[in-house]
Structures are given as structure tokens and as C-alpha cells.
């Protein structure tokens, strides 16, 4: 079964006019000459759930890094929430990054802090003096299903649980956009499925979710928007796609 061209990046009618993320002719060439992204155009709307798929080195991570302005694009413009970030000054970055909740394959937890402290850390450094800190931390840990592990250290948890802590930390300041860069890369299929369920649940509450992944099973099961990147280019953008192009063995 092939997907009609007309379906490509068709936006459902309930979307706001302005996309929450948009890329206009974005390219990224690293100083060593590597061309990580080529002429990328993208629009992601509030409440979308997108998979970003493609082989290692295709440019998925570069795209994520451009979004949080860890890197600046070589050419083109990037808008988040209507604000151009491609030329944003260093001073404004903290505010931009507070719009995102980000999780990575390697969790990036502080091993000497407890689960609750790891989650609270995100609020302490962005909103010092936050009231009802404990309640907020407990609430978000309840969402990820770790309400009984508050005082455990990361080492005492399984990989899936550690990723849930990372998700809780990314959620606690109520981000508009949730970025997950290979969140299931280190996890077994069952645990991975649990994490994806959690991301869908977060999306259900209205948060835009962008998940870069290699996990074919998950993408094929969930059937949400798929943006495929290969060799720095967007090669496919389907509203309800699968990991590979339907009926083929290619992206």
C-alpha cells in the first residue's frame, strides 16, 4: 500500500495557524566540512507527535541540537513559537530552553542525587524559590509511575526507570515541546514500549512531542507522523507513517 502524495504533511484542521516549530531552508555544515543537514523545511504544530527516523549519522541529532540552539544553522531560519532562534543571542538561550523538555539515550541523571532531587534540580536551577516544590516533584513522579521511588538513587533503578526519572525531570517545568533523542536506545522492547506509552500520554495532555528513534517496532505500532531523514535531507514526511517506506526496504 503506498501513501498518496497529497497526504504528505497534511495538517489536521484543529491546528493553530502558526506552527510551534518551523524550519525554512535549514542547512548545517560543521567546521570540519561535514554536511549534517541540507535544505530542510519542516513545520510541526502544537500537539503533534512526530517520529524522527533515519540511520545513524543521518542528521537527527543535529536537528535536535539546532532546535535547542546547541548549534546554530549554517543557512536558513528556525522558528520556535514564532520566535527566530537561528540568530538568537546567547543571553536569550536559557529562556528558549525552558520551553523544551529533553531526554537522551543516556538519561543524564546526577548519580549522587536521589530521584526526587534529580527532578527538583530542574526547578531549582530555573525557578529558584519555587513554592510547593515537593508537591510538584511528587506529582510528576506519579505521572511517570515512580511515586514509590522518590528517595532511591539512580544506580538502584533499572534502565527503564532511570529514563522515567529523566522524563519526569524534563516534564516538571511544564514544557511546550518534549524532545526525546533515542530515548529507548538502551532499553529492551517491553521497557521501550512503556516509555513510548508514557510519551503518548504526555502528548495526550497537549504537549508537542518529537522523538528521534531507531526503534522500528515502536514506530510501526504507534502510526503517527514520521519524518525520515537520510544523508541530511528530509526524504519522507507522512502523517501516519511507518519506519520504512511502505512496501519497500528503504526509508
Amino acid at each position: 500500500m503506498s501513501v498518496a502524495v497529497a497526504e504528505r504533511s497534511a495538517a489536521p484542521p484543529q491546528h493553530a495557524l502558526r506552527p510551534v516549530i518551523s524550519f525554512h531552508g535549514v542547512s548545517k555544515v560543521y567546521p570540519n566540512g561535514t554536511e549534517a543537514l541540507r535544505d530542510v523545511d519542516l513545520a510541526i504544530h502544537q500537539g503533534d507527535f512526530c517520529f524522527l527516523v533515519g540511520p545513524s549519522g543521518a542528521g537527527k541529532s543535529t536537528l535536535v541540537r539546532l532546535l535547542i540552539r546547541d548549534e546554530a544553522p549554517s543557512t536558513g531560519r528556525i522558528f520556535i513559537d514564532g520566535q527566530e532562534v537561528s540568530r538568537m543571542s546567547h543571553r536569550k538561550l536559557p529562556k528558549l530552553r525552558r520551553k523544551f523538555g529533553i531526554v537522551f539515550q543516556d538519561y543524564k541523571l546526577l548519580t549522587r542525587r536521589t530521584v526526587a532531587q534529580n527532578v527538583a534540580f530542574a526547578l531549582q536551577v530555573t525557578r529558584p524559590g519555587q513554592r510547593h516544590l515537593r508537591e510538584k516533584v511528587e506529582e510528576v513522579l506519579w505521572i511517570v509511575g515512580l511515586e514509590d521511588k522518590l528517595d532511591k538513587f539512580p544506580d538502584e533503578l533499572s534502565g527503564g526507570e532511570q529514563q522515567r526519572v529523566a522524563i519526569a525531570r524534563a516534564l516538571v517545568h511544564r514544557p511546550r515541546i518534549f524532545l526525546a533523542d533515542e530515548p529507548t536506545g538502551n532499553l529492551d522492547p517491553d521497557t521501550s514500549w512503556g516509555i513510548v506509552q508514557l510519551l503518548l500520554q504526555i502528548n495526550h495532555r497537549g504537549t508537542t512531542v518529537l522523538m528521534a528513534t531507531h526503534n522500528r517496532e515502536v514506530v510501526d505500532l504507534v502510526r503517527r507522523r514520521v519524518i525520515a531523514i537520510d544523508n541530511g535531507r528530509v526524504v519522507r514526511d507522512e502523517a501516519e507513517g511507518s519506519y520504512l517506506r511502505e512496501g519497500t526496504a528503504t526509508l
Binding site: I68, D70, H90, L93, P94, K95, L96, R97, R98, F100, I102, K108, L110, R112, F121, A122, Q124, V125, T126, R127, P128, G129, Q130, R169, A170, H173
Partner: protein
């Protein structure tokens, strides 16, 4: 207000926590800084002591006799003497008559007998100067030569050779002290920066997370800067105490020998304050530089 206090508390709390959690790295940093502060303090005190001793020598050497011509009028001499007295470079001036000079010289028996043979008094009257600095002696020597009332054959007892040598020794010691201080300071900044960078490196995940969740640069910096200040303060307290103790021992030991080094309390207290402030400042600055690399994205 609540936000500022919370930020301050967070910075203080995590500075203390980091210091304790990475005690090994922290203590290595404190030890390195302490060692350098000790070297800087020690070399400053040593240079100061040597300087004090040499200045004593200089004071002893800072005499000049200006020999007066026999036919100089008393009015001209008084005039010259009062001019010298008003000169800021001069500590004191005394007038020595021919008779006083003879009396002085007669204490040496061979001169005394020679004077008896001569019958008359060939010794000139003189103005005896005490000047503030050795270098002024040559200036007064030159000025005296130009005066008509001064004895034209032997204007002064200025011995350029000895005074020149003493002057050279003092200059060399001062230069060597300054160069050692500059070298130590450069080494210390490099070492401290690297030590702190190692300490910061061991916490790069924390910095990375802080940046990811949107902490401002200053929020990330403060705990590290406070930690650096704490380390610098501890290093300064310990090495200051050691320098102070060593100085006392040195003064006591020196007094047992011929060399008398005075215990300069005011200089020591000033130095200890400078070491404390310097330790804290260098700790803060080193941390600032150390964190900078991890914030530049």
C-alpha cells in the same frame, strides 16, 4: 527577593556540597593554591627582611662630608648649611670646625704626631650630611663641587666605588625578588586554572543538565565561583599561618646570630590580609575561567 535568596542558598548549598563530595579534587586544589600562596608570602617576607637589613646598611653608609675651603666666609657657610637643612633629601646637617676636625683626627696617634710636627692645622672645616637615600650622595657630591666655598682639591669624602657596589647589590636583590614574584604569580594562575578546570570537568554532566533545563550562565557559575573562593580562603588561612610561623622562627634564629632582622608586625599583618584577599580573588577568578569553557554553547 525570595528568588534571589533561593538562588543564593542554592549556590552556597551546592558549593559546599560539591566541595565535600569531591573532597579529593577539592583538597588537591586547596593544597596547590596553599603551596603557591606560601611561596608568594614567603618570598615577599624574605625580600622584605633582606630589604630591611640592607636599608639599615644604607642608613649607615649615607653620610657625606663636604670639605670647606679655608677662606670661605662664615656667612656663606651658614647660608649653604641652611639651604641643605631645607632640602627634603637631607636628614641632618652638622657643621664641623677646623678645630673639631683636628680634635677628631688627633684620636689617631700617628695623625696626632704628624699634626704636632706641622704646627699649623691643615684639616678643613666641613658640613656633615645624613641623606635619606644612597643615590643622593652622588648628587650632593656633584653639587658641592660646583660651590665656590667648597675645598677645590678634596670637595667631599664621597667614595663612589663602595657606594656604587652597595647600590648595585640592593638593586639586584630588588629585581630578583620582583622577577621571582612575577614567575610565581604566573605559575600559580596557570596551575590554579587547571586544577579548577579538572574540578569543573568532573561535574560537566551537572553543568550540561543545568544548561539543558535553561539555567542562566550566572546561575551555573555562582556555585563554582563560591567553591573557588572557599578553596582560596582555606588555602590562604593555612599557608598564611605557616608563613607567619616560619617568619617568627626565622627572626628568632637570626637574632641568635649577628644578623638582626626586626619583626615587622605591621608588614606581616598587611601581608596576611593581602594573602587572604588574594587567595579568595584568585580562587574566584580561576573558577570563572575554569567554567567558561563549559558555558560557551
Amino acid at each position: 527577593m525570595r528568588q534571589v535568596l533561593a538562588s543564593l542558598w542554592f549556590a552556597l548549598h551546592s558549593a559546599g556540597q560539591n566541595f565535600r563530595r569531591n573532597l579529593g579534587v577539592s583538597l588537591a586544589g586547596v593544597f596547590t593554591m596553599g603551596l603557591i600562596i606560601f611561596l608568594v608570602g614567603g618570598s615577599l617576607l624574605f625580600t622584605h627582611s633582606v630589604d630591611t637589613v640592607l636599608q639599615g646598611q644604607e642608613q649607615n653608609a649615607s653620610h657625606l662630608k663636604i670639605y670647606l675651603s679655608d677662606n670661605a666666609s662664615l656667612a656663606a657657610i651658614t647660608n649653604f648649611e641652611s639651604r641643605l637643612k631645607d632640602d627634603p633629601r637631607v636628614i641632618s646637617v652638622t657643621f664641623e670646625t677646623k678645630d673639631q676636625a683636628k680634635q677628631q683626627a688627633s684620636q689617631n696617634p700617628s695623625i696626632s704626631s704628624a699634626l704636632a710636627v706641622l704646627g699649623s692645622n691643615p684639616l678643613p672645616a666641613s658640613l656633615n650630611l645624613d641623606v635619606r637615600k644612597l643615590t643622593y650622595l652622588s648628587q650632593f657630591n656633584a653639587e658641592a663641587k660646583a660651590m665656590p666655598i667648597v675645598d677645590s682639591t678634596t670637595p667631599t669624602d664621597y667614595n663612589s666605588d663602595v657606594i656604587g657596589k652597595l647600590n648595585t647589590v640592593i638593586t639586584v636583590i630588588e629585581w630578583v625578588g620582583a622577577i621571582i614574584a612575577i614567575i610565581l604569580l604566573t605559575i600559580s594562575i596557570v596551575i590554579i586554572m587547571n586544577t579548577i578546570r579538572t574540578a569543573v570537568y568532573s561535574r560537566r554532566t551537572e553543568i550540561e543538565i543545568m544548561k539543558l533545563v535553561g539555567a542562566t550562565d550566572w546561575f551555573v557559575r555562582w556555585p563554582f565561583i563560591l567553591e573557588g573562593m572557599l578553596g582560596g580562603l582555606l588555602a590562604a588561612i593555612f599557608s598564611g599561618a605557616v608563613v607567619f610561623g616560619a617568619y617568627r622562627l626565622f627572626v628568632q634564629a637570626a637574632q641568635g646570630n649577628l644578623l638582626s632582622v626586626p619583626f615587622d608586625a605591621r608588614y606581616t599583618i598587611t601581608l596576611l590580609i593581602v594573602l587572604l584577599v588574594g587567595g579568595v580573588a584568585v580562587g574566584a577568578f580561576g573558577s570563572f575561567l575554569g567554567v567558561r569553557r563549559f558555558l560557551s554553547a
